[in-house]
């Protein structure tokens, strides 16, 4: 297990880290000012995926089990939030935390029985769970409009003169949300609970032997990941304002897994960068409609061959090599 996941060992000078971080943040802030609405739009989607991948890392990277249903939680969050505002008339700022909490609870409900399953049994079961959620969204026509798509979703209510209907404002909203969530996840990982999760990943039996309630912490990690995905989904719903089941089909869950693995599981920063890289590759290929997904899957296999531990594994190896 330890060979598949990396520990984030910071051997670098903290000042250098800080400078890199600052530069990245400044660049991110400038994106909507410098680039076109297309790039800003793609960047918003990439940031949403980055948050998804980061939250996914809490469960799969830090706690161990592989899952394929993150896209489903994202979708449940999106639909919950949209329906709360459309049908029950809640403002976004109420629907947003409520849908996060709802998906958190839902994650606990699913995670509790499912996490008893072993290895890939669990992984493949989550895959089917995701597909089932897709079917429910697709077929509950009365509630979700199913394949007709759910339109007319309002942007988040503005305040202090900010109007979130525009693309730039949405970008900054998602950006701030992303930064807050990532920092929160980072703090969580460094907390006592986060360290416990890593212990469970490294040796579950041993953790049990020393009296850790491993299933509780696994369900906790699962639910936190789900909750963040739900929040992110809610934000997506009010950014995109049109929901369709295909947006949350199994490929979305797969994308999250792929981004995380490309970046490097168990590093938090890896999956976030992975989201950026994957988005970039797919966007660069946009000019070749029929070849796009072929090149993409070949590139994915090539990346796995080059370094199964993802980008962060590559970084670590290069650094280790120089030492």
């Amino acid at each position: 297990m330890s060979s598949q996941t990396l520990q984030a060992k910071s051997r670098r000078n903290p000042l250098v880290t800080l400078i890199i971080l600052a530069v990245v943040l400044v660049v991110m802030v400038l994106v909507p000012q410098v680039f076109s609405g297309y790039i800003t739009y793609v960047a918003v989607l990439a940031m949403l995926f980055a948050v998804l991948a980061g939250s996914y890392d809490i469960l799969t990277g830090y706690t161990g089990p592989l899952t394929f249903c993150h896209g489903a939680f994202y979708g449940i969050g999106a639909y919950t939030s949209a329906l709360l505002t459309l049908k029950a008339g809640f403002p976004f700022w109420v629907a947003f935390p409520v849908s996060g909490a709802a998906v958190f609870l839902f994650g606990a409900l699913i995670g509790y029985p499912a996490l008893r399953l072993r290895g890939h049994y669990f992984a493949v079961t989550t895959f089917f769970f995701a597909h089932f959620v897709y079917l429910v969204i697709l077929n509950s026509v009365g509630l979700t409009s199913g394949p007709l798509g759910l339109g007319g979703i309002k942007p988040p209510e503005g305040f202090l003169g900010i109007n979130f209907a525009g693309l730039k404002a949405s970008y900054y909203l998602v950006f701030i949300y992303g930064v807050i969530v990532i920092v929160a996840l980072w703090l969580f990982i460094r907390s006592g609970v986060g360290k416990l999760l890593v212990t469970i990943r490294e040796n579950e039996e041993l953790s049990e032997a020393i009296g850790v309630n491993t299933s509780f912490y696994k369900v906790l990690a699962f639910s936190i990941g789900a909750g963040v995905a739900g929040l992110t989904g809610s934000l997506f719903a009010h950014f995109f304002r049109l929901l369709h089941p295909t947006t949350f089909a199994w490929m979305t869950s797969e994308m999250v897994v792929i981004m995380s693995l490309v970046g490097g599981l168990g590093t938090l920063i890896g999956p976030i960068i992975g989201a950026g890289i994957v988005t970039l590759i797919l966007e660069l290929m946009r000019f070749a409609p029929e070849l796009r997904l072929i090149i993409w899957s070949v590139a994915l296999i090539a990346i796995l061959i080059i370094e199964p531990r993802g980008l962060m594994g590559l970084v670590q190896r290069i650094r280790g090599g120089r030492k």
């Binding site: 007709l148 995109f240 049109l242 029929e290 990346i303």
Partner: protein, 381 residues
Amino acid sequence: MSKTRKLLVLLVVLLLAATLVLTSCKGGKAGNVIKIGYTAPFTGSAAEFGTNGWRGVQLALEEINAAGVKVGNKTYNVEIVRYDSKCEPTEAVANMRKLALEDKVVGVLGDHCSSCCRGIAPLATEYKIPSITIECAADNVTSPGQEYYFRMRPSMGLMAPLAAPKILDLTGAKRVGYLGVNDDYGRSFNKSFQDQFGPAGAKTVAEIYFERGNTDFMAFLNQLKAAKPDIVLYVGTASEGAMILKQAQEIGITPGIKFVGSEEMGEMELVSLAGSEAVDGTYAVALWGAVASDFEKKVKDKFNAPMHYAIIFGYDALKVMVDAIQRAQSLDTVKIKDALLATDYAGLEGQIKFETFEGFRNQGRYTPSFIQWKDGTREAM
């Protein structure tokens, strides 16, 4: 690092570099080119629609560029910038933004999926890019509608009132079974017809939806058989329809119960997919009656493919767009939009006009044909 790994790293880097170079080069070609965007599903579950639409667009493009487009005193060539939407709204929106903001197109064709059309229609207005959907059929694409978004084909809600009485006339059906693909297209088609059939006294005895990509229809067909309808209204692709007709024949539902299909079931390929034996006697609400046979031959020669309405729509859409550019005598998108509004063009599918009526905006009025299959050929009714 091992040798293979190094090689692979090199490969990936080269690949990325190549795409970067390719993408950056594309913008460099300036001069007498009019760029028109096209967003369509080329991969994914709806890939066959995009494939057919693109065939039509290519045929129109050849003819247009052979003649050249005269605007002012300059002659232009048309270039199509084409992106894949995978039938997913988020992708279609990315395409639309890229087309409008990066590629600076003067018009957009597409998409084929209603959910995508609904996603891009507001952007057409936001960026002032006149756009024509190829085959989105849901009512709400043009109702309430957008200033810059146009549709030539009838929506389901417009088609049903025209087709339903004819179906009842021909078949005298009192009991109707509905069988449809479970997406926006299938659901809205059946609902529109139910709204017409119900008041006319043809009651619904079964309503069944299946997932796209389904192959075994035995369960559904048995269910239909048990419900004893006079006719079955089927909506879905020709390929699914072909499997359904074959399997219906296998368990002896047809020819006793008549199938009435949506537009795909009026396509020539249905016969090649299912064989005339299974198809004969079924009806279809078709989107084309009799197209000039030389066009059909062109399609056959160039693509070795049977005729399909998406080819016609793709062809007409580009022709209508270029027609508007020529009448506007300008590459200004506002003027092109105004010219589109004044369109009165004799297309393959009939006379094309965009009108605003009954809550619809920029919507073509177009009467569907009604055909019956006899000995593997379409017979207009």
